[in-house]
Amino acid sequence: MKLRYLLSLSIVTLMATQLCLAGSIKGKVTPGKSVVWVEAAPGAKPVAVDKHVIMDQKGLLFQPHVLVVQTGTTVDFLNSDKVAHNVFWPSISGDKKKSHNLGTWPTGQKKGFKFEEPGVVSLLCNVHPEMSGYIVVVPTPMFAETAADGEYTIANVPDGQYTVTAWHEGKKLQSQKVTVSGTATANFTLQ
């Protein structure tokens, strides 16, 4: 009984220690509704995950308009409309060599694409040029989508030095160095 008590106490102590080390990054991005993420350490490989998420085409819209995924994620592009659609991206983060056209598929069916590298993917449909969507592929599990007013919190960030990047549709990417020791603040004004 005494041994079990000591063991429980040790586990609780360890968890408390871990919580103290895992801080957070808070801040505000102007103008509003943006994506903020922690970059991988220089030289380190992006942290990949193996999961599937849906990007829908419905009502002549990409839904959601902005999808944030971690590297390694497979995005399944679904056509929920009763009209033909297409999905292509002319570049990833401005690199035109990474352009890709997924083609056409019928209503109700989907086509997957695995995003292996981080970057901002601008989605387009070549029959409905007004349709626009974004996939932000981030290299770590430490990311957040801001609220409408731009406020955000990235939780579970171990103490240390990081590069934090913010993105907003139509604005230039902006990065800044952040030192996390418990909590840190990083505000962005994107141009």
């Binding site: 419905k58 002549l60 009763k82 029959v127």
Partner: protein, 536 residues
């Protein structure tokens, strides 16, 4: 004569310079919040989806309500249907006024020989001056279209200003279309729709909404019979009807424009004299609007076509758009069609009966226009063409002794007591056009128009300015029209067209062998036109 020649010169130049009307529908862009290119290749030319949208009554072919971003206004809850006939059947109106506007403006350059026609007027006559280069305004038109629910579609367009400077325009099309009314009789889907009002006939290739700057010559061809006394051929035919004319009437149609069969049968007013509705009125039978027809007879128009979509994959072949490897696109297809128009041209003359008493004599001359058409599309290349044969029966006036009355009939009352059948007035012609979409924003065009009319040629030799095309050097009038069009944005277009017009003449000699008039020294008065066109 001087006035007629002056009018002719003005009409000639206007016809050459000012293009046919055309519309894209920004109202739909607003309602569905989608680009013009969803329905148009190079506005107003429709792509396959645009054809399906139009066939469906200006709606998305499936699940239309899920695409509308501006909800319609309910004119009665749907549940009111259960109360019918104790309530008005519920409908809807678009959530915003579905109105669009179009404006265009031109820059044009005309051949140096444009002044050759001045020699037709007596020395000293001050003719209209045709500038070598000119900036001119085109049209400003308003149009509205949409759907009232229950598959009732509507369309109205009106040229508020035509040819600039506050010129009076006129109603283009204005109709209601009851889509898929065949469902009420348990007929197959889309096999029967009904259109009522004023509309362009279901022509193989539209002229009212063409993307070309100039209209198709064959669609503008009236049939005015030969009246040149120097030649044996004489026609008492004065039919100003052209296929480009808007028709007032009713049309039954079915099938689809984007695949499979399509048909239409229209019963429309006859007006072969060209009298306008505003002028066609009687002081004894009041009508605030005038009368649109000039006879009791109703003309008949019928069209049948079949489009073979050529994709090997059945799913793709039967879809509204083909499934291309990089995205949906227009089908590779071959469309074959035919059409037939039948009417009875009516002419009324002041004449005499056999007793010599003045009477009104009526010549009812059956006429028809018949032809075929094709359209072949491969990816972004579209080759299409049309052939037409026009035929008007010819009732020559005769006097009481049975001798022909010289044409044109003159004198009140004329000595005419009746008519006898003679050789018909005919013409043939058509066009062939190739459109190549070099980029989604750039279309290259090459077109050949040809009209073969013996009567026009004979009348031209007599300088008869009432014929559809005056002073043609050859019996066949060929026109070549290369062009290119650029979409600056989806709703703004710059277009260029070079019209290599048919040969004409102003010098006539007597052929020393036949003794008949013959034209010499042909020339072409060519025109280069640049237009800027926008809709919003």
């Amino acid at each position: 004569m001087k006035i007629r020649i002056t009018a002719f010169l003005v009409v000639l130049l206007l016809a050459a310079f000012f293009p046919a009307g055309a519309h894209a529908i920004p109202a739909f862009s607003r309602m569905y919040q989608t680009s013009c290119t969803t329905c148009h290749l190079d506005f107003p030319k429709l792509n396959d989806f645009g054809k399906a949208f139009k066939d469906a009554g200006f709606k998305f072919p499936s699940d239309d309500e899920t695409f509308i971003k501006v909800p319609p206004v309910m004119l009665g809850a749907a549940a009111q249907k259960e109360q019918f006939p104790r309530t008005v059947w519920p409908g809807v109106i678009p959530g915003m006024p579905p109105i669009g506007f179009r404006m265009n403006t031109f820059f044009q350059t005309t051949s140096r020989n444009r002044g050759n026609f001045d020699t037709l007027t007596p020395p000293g006559t001050v003719n209209p001056f045709i500038p070598r280069t000119d900036f001119s305004t085109g049209l400003f038109s308003i149009f509205t279209a949409g759907n009232f629910g229950s598959d009732i579609a509507f369309w109205v367009d009106d040229d508020i200003s035509v040819a600039g400077e506050n010129a009076a325009g006129g109603l283009g099309d204005g109709y209601l279309k009851f889509v898929n009314v065949g469902r009420l009789m348990k007929m197959p889907k889309d096999s029967l729709s009904l259109r009522v009002g004023r509309f362009e006939l279901d022509l193989p290739f539209t002229q009212a909404r063409t993307h070309n700057l100039s209209s198709y010559d064959i669609y503008d061809q009236a049939n005015i019979g030969a009246t040149n006394p120097a030649f044996a051929a004489q026609h008492n035919v004065n039919n100003v009807f052209t296929m480009a004319d808007a028709a007032n009437g009713i049309e039954f149609s079915g099938g689809h424009q984007y695949g499979g069969y399509h048909y239409s049968i229209a019963v429309v007013n006859q007006n072969t004299s060209g009298v306008s509705q505003a002028d066609n009125e009687s002081p004894f039978v009041p009508s605030s609007a005038g009368f649109a027809a000039d006879s009791n007879f109703k003309d008949l128009y019928a069209r049948l076509s079949y489009r073979f979509n050529l994709e090997s994959d059945a799913t793709s072949r039967n879809s509204v758009q083909a499934a291309g490897s990089t995205g949906p696109r227009d089908h590779t297809y071959l469309n074959l069609g035919s059409y037939y128009f039948y009417g009875r041209s009516v002419q009324r003359f002041s004449g005499q009966n056999l007793l010599g008493d003045p009477v009104v004599l009526t010549a009812r001359e059956p006429f028809y226009r018949v032809g075929g058409d094709f359209s072949f599309n491969y990816r972004t290349f579209n080759l299409y063409g049309l052939f037409m044969f026009g035929h008007d029966n010819n009732l020559l006036p005769v006097d009481s002794a049975g001798f022909p009355v010289p044409l044109p009939i003159s004198g009140v009352p004329s000595p005419t007591v009746g008519f006898i059948h003679s050789g018909p007035a005919t013409f043939t012609g058509g066009f062939m056009q190739a459109d190549y979409l070099v980029y989604p924003w750039m279309m290259a065009i090459m077109r050949w128009d040809a009209v073969n009319s013996g009567p026009d040629r004979l009348n031209g030799l007599a300088a008869n300015l009432d014929t559809p095309f005056v002073l043609p050097f050859h019996q066949t009038r060929n026109r070549f029209t290369p062009g290119v069009q650029f979409l600056i944005h989806a709703n703004i277009k710059a277009a260029f067209e070079y019209q290599i017009r048919p040969q004409q003449y102003v010098t006539i000699i007597n052929n020393p062998i036949t003794g008949l008039p013959a034209a010499t020294q042909p020339f072409r008065t060519n025109t280069a036109v640049v237009s800027l066109d926008f809709v919003y």
